[in-house]
């Protein structure tokens, strides 16, 4: 399933890029609408949705329907918070309020109940359970909570959210709460909704026998909440989309010098297999060939001289990929540039552009570049980029900056790794060269030397 999605998304991506490149051949607006249509309601979306639904069904994350309610339990109708109250049964409502937590204020769902609770015995020890179902879409999904933090394959781990609390002893066989009583405060920062935007949430508030777990009463109400953050399904989709876009950008870097080298292609393919397939070991017999087919089409696209709209892709990534993933993409691209052993000026230029478009910290990008692409790999020495000289620096700032760089590399020159020693030696020479270029009496200002020094 994922292969279909990948194949389609790569093809869509290529088609979109082709439209940008050959804007004279196709009406750009119509084409964009077509791509948008496919992306939103077409094959890819349906496949994805079906897959996600299947995944969540199999994990038991779906909420129960009314048929799951015990026969002897009293239950209120699914109500909005504003529904009239029937005191003979249990009712619930939800309010969005704020709660103070040490030095900050957090949003909470305040769950209130009123009405009757029936038990077969007196002095029944009771417990409260609240679970939340997102019923906005065709397939309801349980609202999740994070049980373990982490990134990558190890986490985070999500689990359906529920709140449980002791209600104490119910004094009578029929306990009546005539007024709304607050029984639970659910912190929003602990809840993960499927998607961003307006969400219709169904709150199932049940009173249970603490001893037997038997459901004594169930009340259900709905609340419409405007979720400002990405939902877990959004994040999953974003993550998958991000990987596809990462592959596209990696190919763009590879093709920047006019040639896709075999080492670069191998590197990208391996990255795609490791990251796009759920698990390369568990991938089905069809998965890898299908992925390869999609990648080969992409390679053919670039080999035909086509180019991507890197800026547009990065703009999309800015909307869906957190900064950590954007660093991952940049790192992949740096390794692709390195794969052939030398870095062409065109590759360096696109890497710089990607760093800017992906809005990563320029200093951090420079550090990444120094690690992955040591100066001896650069076919053209772009002093400003390599040494971090920016256009706003005056002579004194350049001098101080270069002194700092010199001090840094001078301490690395005695490193036990010969490769780092060699790199440090070259950097020291480059800094001395830059110093005479930028800070001598007949100096050149950074603005005057935008072009790399060959």
């Amino acid at each position: 399933m994922r292969m279909d999605k990948l194949l389609v998304s790569i093809l869509v991506l290529l088609a979109a890029s082709a439209a940008v490149t050959f804007s004279g051949l196709i009406d750009r607006y119509q084409f964009a609408r077509f791509v948008n249509h496919i992306e939103r309601i077409g094959l890819r979306y349906l496949l994805k949705l079906r897959g996600l639904v299947r995944r969540f069904k199999s994990s038991g994350a779906f909420g129960r329907t009314r048929t799951g309610i015990a026969a002897n339990a009293q239950s209120g109708p699914g109500t909005d918070s504003s529904s009239p109250v029937d005191i003979r049964i249990l009712n619930c409502r939800v309010r969005l309020t704020k709660q103070k937590d040490q030095d900050r204020v957090v949003d909470v769902f305040n769950v209130d109940i009123c009405g009757s609770i029936h038990t077969s015995i007196t002095a029944c020890q009771a417990a409260l359970k609240v679970s939340v179902l997102d019923v906005t879409d065709e397939f309801p999904m349980a609202v999740q909570t994070q049980v373990r933090q982490g990134t990558g394959a190890g986490g985070p781990v999500l689990s359906p959210f529920y709140h449980k609390a002791d209600l104490g002893k119910l004094p009578h066989q029929v306990t009546i709460l005539s007024d709304w009583t607050s029984v639970a405060q659910l912190r929003l920062d602990k809840l993960l909704f499927p998607r961003r935007g307006g969400r219709t949430l169904q709150f199932d508030t049940s009173v249970l026998s603490a001893e037997t777990g038997q459901e004594l009463a169930l009340a259900r109400c709905r609340f419409v909440y405007e979720n400002p953050d990405f939902g877990f399904m959004d994040l999953q989709e974003n993550s998958e989309r991000t990987k596809v876009l990462a592959v596209a950008l990696a190919f763009a870097v590879s093709a920047a010098d006019g040639d896709l080298h075999d080492w670069e292609i191998d590197l990208i393919k391996n990255w795609a297999r490791d990251n796009i397939l759920d698990s390369p070991e568990e991938a089905s017999d069809q998965d890898i060939p299908r992925l390869d087919k999609a990648l080969n089409k992409t390679i053919a696209f670039f080999r035909a001289g086509n180019r991507l709209d890197g800026c547009g892709i990065c703009r999309e990534l800015l909307g869906i990929a957190p900064i950590a993933q954007r660093y991952d993409i940049l790192e992949l691209c740096l390794y692709v540039a390195r794969a052939s052993g030398t870095v062409a000026a065109e590759e360096l230029a696109i890497l710089k552009d990607l760093a800017t478009w992906l809005e990563v910290d320029p200093e951090r990008f420079r550090v990444m570049m120094q690690k992955v692409l040591p100066i001896d790999m650069h076919q053209v020495k772009d002093i400003q980029t390599v040494l971090g000289i920016t256009l706003d620096m005056d002579k004194e700032k350049v001098r101080r900056h270069l002194n700092k760089e010199y001090s840094k590399w001078n301490s690395r020159v005695t490193n036990s790794d010969p490769a780092i020693q060699g790199q440090a030696d070259q950097m020291l020479r480059l800094i001395a060269e830059a110093r005479s270029q930028y800070t001598s009496e007949q100096r050149v200002s950074p603005q005057d030397t935008k072009a790399p020094v060959r």
């Binding site: 660093y327 910290d361 270069l402 010199y406 001090s407 301490s411 005695t414 790794d417 800094i431």
Partner: protein, 519 residues
């Protein structure tokens, strides 16, 4: 009473100084009557056990360059470096030991047994290179009681022989390395503020620039190469050095080039030379500025500039310094000797501190007013995995605990926390280097610190490093909840773990150096 000796083991020349009866250092000439001994080695062809060190080795290079070695100091601590002679691979430690053996041997003739010595090293040498230097001394049969930074040694000598006061910059441009050190001097009280150094900037680099000019001139005239063999290269390296010396006294140096395609006369002017070494001098200027920035001062904050090392005779060096500071730098009577003389003083101070009974009253009295506060030459840290604020991910990084240029003795602590629930051990690493990125720092010791199991994450571990005046470092890792402690001692010349391989290598070094007859 034992002889107290300081040795300047230089890239191009080495010297030995001894403290006289009243605690004044004196250079001891070698067997040839020379005060400076070229740091050059020649392995005799006829007598494989005979090793010639000094001027004879220099001269023999013209006849058989393959069997000669120079500039060994540049390779100290480099495990890849070796010189193969008669199927024996000589390491930089062994080769240096041969030079030290020659110095020791020549001095012993007049002064009796030479045992307790301090050897000088560039201030920027890391632990690996310092240890290698110490190993060379041990292999030469010396008891290395300390290692002193060359600019510190030079400043010691200056401060005890002439009136120096205020904030002083020691500019040490030697045969192969460059150091700049800033210190506060008040009478005989010397406090080091900071040091910077360049391991590959010195006289031989200037010689190389002249050699390139000679080769270029020859190529232009004859369309051929001047140098056809290692022996030719050895000869013209020395000719280049000679031209450099001449240009320190005159405006023009003239030489005859005898090449395979014909002979020619060349003239190298001081202007040409200065243009050729401009980039190298820029590197020296940068380091001066970096040192000033580290000290938190600008050039006007320096009261005196002291010159050390033969390469400071180059007029351009002095001109640049005068231009930067606004006053001329101060030159010792002999800039080549002050490091060895200062190293002898340092040896005396070390002996007074460590073995006072072995020091004569005259020497002890001569040294009694001298007080030196040295600093950590490098930063020392440990490897940890904090959360990156920007990405929210854990990153492995080097965290500095003891900062470079902290006055000795010093101690610093930092708190770290276990990462995972049930973590039963921590890999503790002692690092040396100024970087956060672990790839750029040297790991000088690694140990496993066992912890009690079944504990939650975030258990505090206090890490304390201390460094004493004898350059002994003590690292303490303390699990605050259980009270468990791991202590690692790192003395100079020892990295906290001695493997069988280390012992074997040391034995081999001792045997190879011991067996060789040095002349």
């Amino acid at each position: 009473m034992t002889n107290i000796v300081g040795i300047d083991l230089g890239t191009t020349f080495s010297e030995l100084a001894i403290l006289n009866a009243i605690g004044k250092p004196e250079i001891i000439p070698n067997a040839d009557g020379e005060r400076l001994t070229p740091s050059a080695i020649f392995f005799d062809e006829e007598n494989p056990d005979m090793v010639r060190v000094g001027i004879e080795a220099i001269n023999s290079r013209y006849l058989n360059a393959q069997r000669s070695v120079r500039w060994i100091k540049r390779h100290m601590g480099d495990p890849r470096y070796h010189k193969t002679i008669d199927s024996k691979d000589w390491t930089a430690v062994e080769l240096s030991a041969l030079i030290l053996k020659k110095l020791k041997q020549d001095c012993s003739v007049e002064h009796g047994e030479i045992r307790d010595v301090v050897i000088s090293v560039p201030a920027h040498f890391d632990e690996v290179r310092r240890k290698a230097t110490m190993d060379a001394g041990i292999a030469a049969g010396l008891n290395v009681i300390g290692i002193v930074n060359e600019p510190v040694a030079a400043a010691l000598y200056y401060a005890t022989t002439r009136k120096v006061s205020g904030r002083v910059m020691v500019y040490d441009l030697g045969g192969g390395t460059f150091d700049v050190t800033i210190m506060d001097v008040k009478g005989h009280q010397m406090d080091i503020v900071c040091s910077q150094g360049d391991h590959s900037l010195g006289g031989i680099d200037f010689d190389q620039k002249i050699l390139e000019m000679l080769e270029k001139s020859y190529r232009e005239k004859f369309n051929g190469e001047l140098i056809a063999s290692d022996e030719d290269r050895a000869k013209y390296e020395d000719e280049s050095e000679d031209i450099k010396r001449t240009l320190s006294r005159r405006d023009v140096a003239k030489k005859m080039l005898y090449g395979p395609k014909g002979n020619m006369k060349v003239e190298i002017t001081r202007e040409m030379f200065e243009a050729a070494i401009g980039e190298l001098m820029d590197r020296a200027d940068i380091l001066v500025e970096v040192a000033l920035e580290e000290a938190g001062i600008d050039p006007s904050g320096i009261d005196k500039v002291l010159l050390v090392g033969g390469s400071t005779r180059i007029p351009l060096v002095q001109q640049r310094l005068e231009k930067l500071f606004g006053f001329p730098p101060e030159t010792a009577v002999n800039v080549d000797e002050c490091v060895a003389l200062g190293a002898a003083l340092h040896a005396g101070l070390t002996m007074v501190r460590e073995k006072p009974d072995a020091v004569s009253a005259g020497i002890a009295n001569g040294l009694k007013d001298i007080n030196l506060t040295d600093v950590c030459n490098h930063s020392y840290g440990t490897i940890c995995a904090p959360l990156d604020k920007e990405t929210g991910r854990r990153v492995v990084e080097n965290r500095i605990i003891l900062k470079k240029n902290t006055p000795l003795p010093c101690e610093a602590s930092q708190m770290f926390y276990t990462l995972t629930k049930g973590q039963s051990e921590v890999a503790v690493t002692v690092t040396q280097g100024e970087d956060k990125a672990v790839e750029y720092v040297n790991r000088i010791a690694t140990h496993k610190f066992k912890l009690p199991a079944d504990r939650p994450a975030q258990c505090p571990i206090k890490v304390t490093y201390s460094y004493d005046v004898n350059q002994r470092m003590h690292c303490k890792f303390e699990d605050l909840e259980s009270g468990r402690i791991l202590e690692v001692d790192l003395a100079l010349g020892q990295d906290g773990k001695v493997s069988k391989q280390d012992v074997k290598e040391k034995d081999e070094e001792m045997a190879a150096v011991g067996k060789s007859k040095v002349q």
